[in-house]
């Protein structure tokens, strides 16, 4: 009974050459990406038969792609070089600290790095990721600090007559304590869902690290799903494994904004919150900035802190929801008692730059107070993670 086949398997595994282990465990015997001491990175791909291997990622200079529908920026590409053993390699120059995304292109086909199991989905694209530590990117690391809890929670919306899912971050110590906490509602952009901020956004790590350093008040963070036609992220609903291609309907028809008190009521009745405007914030990226703008003006007594990260400003043409009517009257009511912080941030290359400039002009003309941050780059996650690290320390300090 002592020598089971299990023991035998363990012994065999321990003595296997890496290439044979690969056959059993699926592990490629290469290291990719390899991050060097100077923050240059080597990518490797084993493909003796391939004719060409390229890497595409946001650490490479963007290239401009021109189509019949206009030009847009796309991630750069670089060639890997084949060595004698059929392993292809490419090494970058030293990279700035950041969370980067990439894929390989092998004989024209986009595919993940088989050596790197770390992938994140953004809308319908899955890419590999790696992290260069340092600077603000250190907020993105899992560090040896007290960790909050991240929960996937279902709530019922009477307004939508629907069960829906959201992601809740409770700070370290919440479960053991009796204290009440302020709440920040953090909203995703078009094509995203209730997972976006905790995955590509690194919100969990940013919160853990900034709270541990004393830079941010301990708070509950609620990450909703802004697509009102969906119960939850793709694959997490009773629709089954339906590809994320049908997310546009309902996202900007006023119903998300209209149902939002259902979310706040659920959170206030389920968690130890301070259920008062002074202790509530709302912010989001792109469509989530649009939602934050409209929700905060629809319910002027609900949020004292508002963050618009690369926000879409106006509704879709033809949207007829009352939510989008009488913008100036509603802003006037909201700013009659100005929010403790109304914070607008956008990248100088963002396609929404002019819309935000116009919106600021509206606020300026009416004398409504806000703060404005302009950053380099465009409509990209790099900016939104940075905006989060800049917005969070401003919350709940009045």
């Amino acid at each position: 009974m002592k020598k089971t086949m299990f023991l035998a398997l363990l012994l065999v595994l321990a003595s296997l050459p890496v290439r044979a282990q690969q056959a059993i465990w699926g592990v490629m015997p290469l290291v990719s990406p390899e991050i060097h001491a100077d923050n240059s990175v080597t990518f490797r791909f084993a493909a003796p038969e391939a004719g060409s291997v390229r890497v595409t990622g946001d650490f490479l200079p963007v290239r401009t792609v021109t189509t019949d529908f206009g030009s847009f920026d796309a991630p750069g590409e670089a060639d890997l070089t084949r060595n004698g053993e059929g392993v292809w390699e490419f090494t970058t120059g030293p990279l700035q600290p950041e969370l980067y995304s990439y894929s390989f292109i092998v004989d024209g086909l986009r595919m993940p790095d088989p050596c790197n199991v770390f992938q994140i989905r953004d809308t319908s694209t899955i890419t590999n990721v790696f992290l260069i530590n340092g600077g603000y990117a250190d907020y993105f690391k899992v560090d040896d600090v007290p960790h909050g809890t991240v929960s996937k929670v279902w709530y019922h919306s009477p307004v939508l007559d629907m069960d829906r899912r959201l992601t809740v971050y409770t700070p370290a110590g919440y479960e053991q304590g009796t204290e009440r906490y302020p709440v920040f509602y953090l909203l995703h952009g078009m094509g995203g869902d209730e997972n976006a901020w905790s995955e590509l956004g690194r919100a969990t790590q940013i919160l853990d690290n900034m709270i541990a350093r004393g830079e941010v008040e301990p708070m509950i963070v609620v990450m909703t799903n802004g697509n009102v036609d969906m119960q939850a992220a793709p694959g997490e609903t009773s629709a089954g494994f339906v590809p994320p291609t049908t997310q546009l309907p309902g996202t900007m028809n006023g119903m998300f904004e209209t149902h939002f008190p259902d979310v706040v009521n659920f959170i206030d009745s389920t968690y130890r919150t301070v259920p008062h405007k002074h202790h509530r914030a709302i912010g989001g990226l792109s469509m989530g900035g649009f939602h934050s703008l409209h929700i905060s003006k629809e319910y002027p007594d609900m949020f004292d802190y508002v963050g618009l990260f690369s926000a879409a400003i106006l509704p879709r043409e033809g949207a007829t929801s009352p939510v989008y009517d009488d913008m100036s009257g509603k802003l006037q009511r909201q700013f009659a008692t100005p929010p403790a912080l109304y914070w607008i941030a956008i990248g100088e290359k963002d396609f929404l730059y002019d819309a935000n400039k116009n919106f600021r002009a509206t606020l300026d003309a009416a004398g409504y107070p806000y703060e404005y941050v302009e950053s380099p780059d465009g409509h990209i996650w790099k900016n939104w993670r940075i905006y989060l690290t800049e917005f969070l320390p401003r919350l709940f300090k009045k």
Copy 2:
């Protein structure tokens, strides 16, 4: 201000042909996999330049692979056929209800289905998944039933002097109520982590559905990380994005078992549990069955329900932990008051079949009561999901 670039982009997207949408959103204009009414499935892959495209998955007949280290079963493979437009296709026969995994092999390179964003990592292999509804596989669906909460929670282990992560399922209604619940500790196998049961194991869906149907008592389910050298799943620790290749050390050295009261104490002090043996269960697959066996006999007053799913029985050769000493004396103490349920299940083709047979002979010889389930197939997730649906209804009913 009315016609922002944002509006323009939306209008452009709405009118784009699918192939141009792909360039922006990364969506392939194909449906794959397509599940037909008779449960046959068509896989599609666009690769005009490829020389061969194959699909490999657990819905195909297994093939036997022979290496210098012996023969083992591997998922089957099938050829896709190229049509005139460079799209490759393969259609299965009608499939039995099940959660299936697959990948493509394009000119010899394994890669995911770019049309299917639904992927699950198993140790260091990422595969696409799809679900054929019906029969027991209906437990694996997200259905229109009340949903429990799934949380990633960190606890401190004084025994290990380490912060570690676990996954906690609390049943629907937990957050709103005041009731106390029984707790089931559900453990993963070698190469797994605290995510395994809620991802490949579909434990969340199984619990939601079985509780909703009244087949299973509402309970808290705690899914630990059995690799004591790790804080959490790969990428979720302060070690950073380290590939899952170093998981073996420490997994079977007795320390996971020794620290387990730290987990139980944390759960009992954090959640509304019934902190008593009669209301505690432990079970796991493979290495998790091994852990369940040893933990339940080390702490005979802790668990009244024990489940060994395709369990490894003995420790690694050379393991010197006191945990593995005096097996017969400890079993005698445990069975002095026999557990309410000691449940052993294994597949008839499992490489651990003989080890389990020998262990049952030991129990039989001593007259210790247990229940035994033998199923077809081997050491595979299909069996472990089924065992979970069979074990859960037996818990906390005495």
